[in-house]
Symmetry: D2
Subunit: 335 residues, 4 copies
């Protein structure tokens, strides 16, 4: 039996998800809602899905099992709650909300309704990072001690996105916070962050930073060091290395082709895949597939709402650390 | 308008093609014929296609635009001819026939009927080799002088396959001959081959070799050196390097993941992708897509029947060179 | 004319320097002093040098142009001062002294006497890091923004060394602080450090850490992130990557051989060179050569005493940051 | 006790050897002979060695234990014979003579006089190739089956060198023939060669080729495929890969530095080391050291005169194969 899916949001991520659904045998896109009729009709035409006239109409459709929430951040929490009330399984893009209290209230509703809720940290489904996680769990590097994560975007987002994003820590580094938690399987209790405006002064004018680092520690003193930048001329840079008592495991950047060219100027390999939707195309597909499997099997999905909340807690702590110029405790995690 | 496709042969390659067709918006698998009812019903169930009761029934279906020929080699030529007579576009797996005369006669029929015919050298559609070709054409290495190709299968095929295969040169190295022609865009006029039985003595008992090399020369003295083996413990090995007047360009083996593990024993990367259907999954899909595009646009496909014939000529020359212990001229190419 | 050299300390580093001197045409080792007669006679026998009976005897030798100070840290400052008074050029191993005040007083003497003084940060002379520096200066990555340094020792030092070392930041990370200053050509004004005891509990019992990170910022907000560990099963790990406005430049770990082995378990490269004297053998030689060139030409050496002091300032700041759990200003650098 | 060495030939290789001797504790350069007084006095001044007025004077010096023969090829055989008569140990650059009969006669004299004679195939002493050999002998790839060697010079030699060189097979590929014998520890019985003039037409006018391949087979059917070119814009290219029953081992090209630069044009690594004296500087030194050790210990050196002869036999067979357009038996090796 196929999982019947409704989609909120027909933008960049919504289209990526719609495409992924179309290639999964056990899933079917039955309705889409987006206030922009042009975006909606693109998906209607391409995948033969139905256009919902409003949110409630989509949620009222009893044949829909699950919804994908790909709308702007400020509508996430309300849609999650409405979907939970309507008895739908939910896959919500990160973050749940920029405000921690709002996010918590939303998860409370999800818990009360017993709704199935997954959060869209697609990197966990990337085959490279998944292999890293599995091999750490298999004990190949012994006990993990230090995680180093480098994430760099090819270029800064538009200013209106910057203004609405909640800042680099909540918008970009949140993925790395989730990755660090995923890898170690532990919570962090302290965060110290640094940040600079080096790429574009307009980002600083928006009160944000474009280059940043964060150092995190667990209760048992495992460390994680993350660096982020909104600039990478060589393409979308996403690397992780984990050091353990027996060795080191690293995920490097996959190159688009295995071609090397050598001439009088040296040896050259490809620029990296860019943008992130292409880098993570397979991961997005695997994410939807895992979500559908959870829904089919009636099993709790992973990552779930709490994973979304924990990453947000770390992002908030990092932002606070940057403001205060000192290392800060992560709210609720001082065990 | 969609290209409506009929499939002959529901074995390994047939299934790979059927899957590829299912992901191409402009293509539709409408009928399949295989004498094995189990193989047939697998595809019928999976893709909702129709089972033809015999070859002629499939070819008589006027709604079918094109056929994919994935049957055992000895049926290729007859099916190509029948399809040409039926007015279908044809994508035929290599080789057209193990016998050069039979292959030529078949292509004669194709030519007389003005049929569209592509040959299944999927490596030309692999993104790595395609990038290599494009960059050579863009002049990045200047004038190409020397091509080096390494192809190694993870393990030898079953003995019945060995016996029917026409030998390593016609079965395995034929892909490398096509790659060499593809890269240089020229014909070879001389071939010298060497071969040994080092992997399994049963292969020698079948009159074949399992380890071989061939050196080819064009009329303007460009060289190509190919090595093949039926053994590669580290996975399916497929490499090309091309030296030109300005530099070198090489395609290495893509690894399944970008993971490196370092410990007291050193640094380790993944074993290679294996088997070839997985290594070339994207290439098979791109091959079908290009074929459908040719059919839609009414344009001649590439590689075509003559490419199949030329590769066979080189394979025949290599086999003859090995028998005679000397370099041999390629029939018809002494220009 | 050859530079005539006296050596204080015939231990591990002293022997490395003595060997380097023996291969430099313009340098000659004429005397060595070490309280341990066995260590002294090893060098006397190997290089035909003279054994000084005490420090003063060596310094009183008018034929000696320059001295290399390779004794335990707590004797560095006094020897530097004595050598400065004796009119010798000085190459002193890092650090000048664990106590900042003592180091400053020592440099004051050096300045008053107008002595030539170099400090032993050999990594600046490694051909890999030198190439990185030159290419950054040539503008290949534009304006540098973020430096990431990973240094990991193969294993922890003996406990008596740990106790005398001044702690990981003054003993180990001090090299990375110097590298960061060398790369950016700027001073850092703030440091935030983190540290853990994950390798051996005895290191924690000594009041030190074995795993650490530091984040540094310049007055113009350039960032540097350093990680250190006393454990690396795969050999001595020394990497730097620098991100700039136009691109990234990185120094990876050179492997002892260019050998790759591929088998059913994947692809394997060598463990890294270990110990550091072997990794940096060429750098130590180049360091001595540059020092001799400075002495010959009467030109100020680089890195010099102030470089030693600045690195120590950063190490002190890092240790303080770790104690206080907050980012700290670097003494004297708040510009 | 030190080995006292006389040097014939103060050209490029002679100077390389003189420098190597100067860094070996157990060796001393005591005399040099070269008809060119300028070349001679360079070495006399640099290493404080004595200038012999003629060949016989050097050989008559009873304090000399061993001679290095680095003169033009046509004088090798006579010098070897004279040195053997004078009771000196001999390290002769390859080849012994371009004429096989002359080389054999020379080795006959060496054998009759019981002289110690080594031949200068320095690649056997390169640490990368030595590691490859050791690991094959340790069984890491099982039974070797196929050797692939790529050697490419950065550019063609001057025309007078081409004319005197004996041709690409005797001058350049002879090193690869020796490498193949070294790796497999077996003799080859058949050779098939191909060759082209693609780099410079003047090379063809001299009756030589500048691009070539050779395929060799042992009596037990192990294969070796070699490619050579007089052109490599990316530097001196020297690679070997060996396939065995259990796996593959390869030596890639070491890059001068471990630096990678990434920018909008992709990822770049250094051009290769060039020229060969720099690529093999350590190997030349290790070669001299091993030769001195043999002389000291009174043990037969390796590679020896017969290794020189066998490589020449293969070069002759390759040249003959190219002329005749067929695979040829190697003289004396049809076992």
């Amino acid at each position: 039996m196929s999982i019947r899916i409704g989609l909120f949001g027909a933008g960049r991520i919504g289209r990526t998800h719609a495409k992924a659904v179309s290639t999964i045998p056990g899933a079917e896109l039955v309705a889409v809602y987006d206030p922009d009729p042009q975006a909606t009709s693109f998906l209607v035409n391409r995948y033969g899905t139905e256009a919902a006239s409003e949110t409630d109409q989509l949620l009222a459709n009893p044949s829909i099992d699950a919804v994908l929430i790909c709308t702007p951040t400020d509508s996430h929490a309300a849609l999650v709650e409405a979907a939970a009330h309507a008895g739908k399984a939910i896959l919500c893009e990160k973050p749940i909300d920029l405000d921690l209290g709002r996010a918590r209230a939303c998860l409370q509703v999800v818990a009360e309704r017993g709704a199935t809720m997954a959060i869209g940290f697609q990197r966990r489904f990337d085959r490279h990072f998944r292999a890293l996680k599995q091999r750490i769990e298999a004990g190949e590097i012994g006990d993990p001690e230090l995680v180093q994560i480098t994430s760099r975007d090819p270029g800064p987002p538009p200013q209106d996105y910057v203004l609405r994003s909640g800042g680099l820590f909540r918008d970009m580094m949140i993925h790395d916070f989730d990755m660090a938690r995923f890898i170690l399987g532990k919570e962090f209790v302290r965060v110290a962050a640094a940040g600079s405006v080096l790429v574009q002064s307009r980002i600083g004018e928006a009160g944000d930073v474009d280059t940043a680092s964060a150092t995190l520690a667990t209760a048992d003193e495992r460390l994680c060091v993350i660096t982020n930048s909104r600039r990478a001329t060589y393409g979308y840079d996403q690397r992780v290395e984990v050091h353990g008592s027996k060795g080191m495991i690293a995920v490097g950047n996959p190159h688009p082709t295995a071609v090397t060219l050598a001439d009088a100027s040296g040896f050259r390999a490809d620029r990296l895949v860019d943008p992130f939707m292409e880098r993570y195309a397979d991961a997005y597909r695997a994410e939807i597939e895992a979500f559908c499997d959870s829904v089919s099997a009636g099993k709790p999905p992973s990552p779930d709402g709490n994973d979304g909340l924990q990453a947000l807690l770390l992002a908030d702590a990092a932002a606070r650390s940057l403001r205060e110029g000192q290392s800060v405790a992560v709210e609720g995690n001082v065990r």
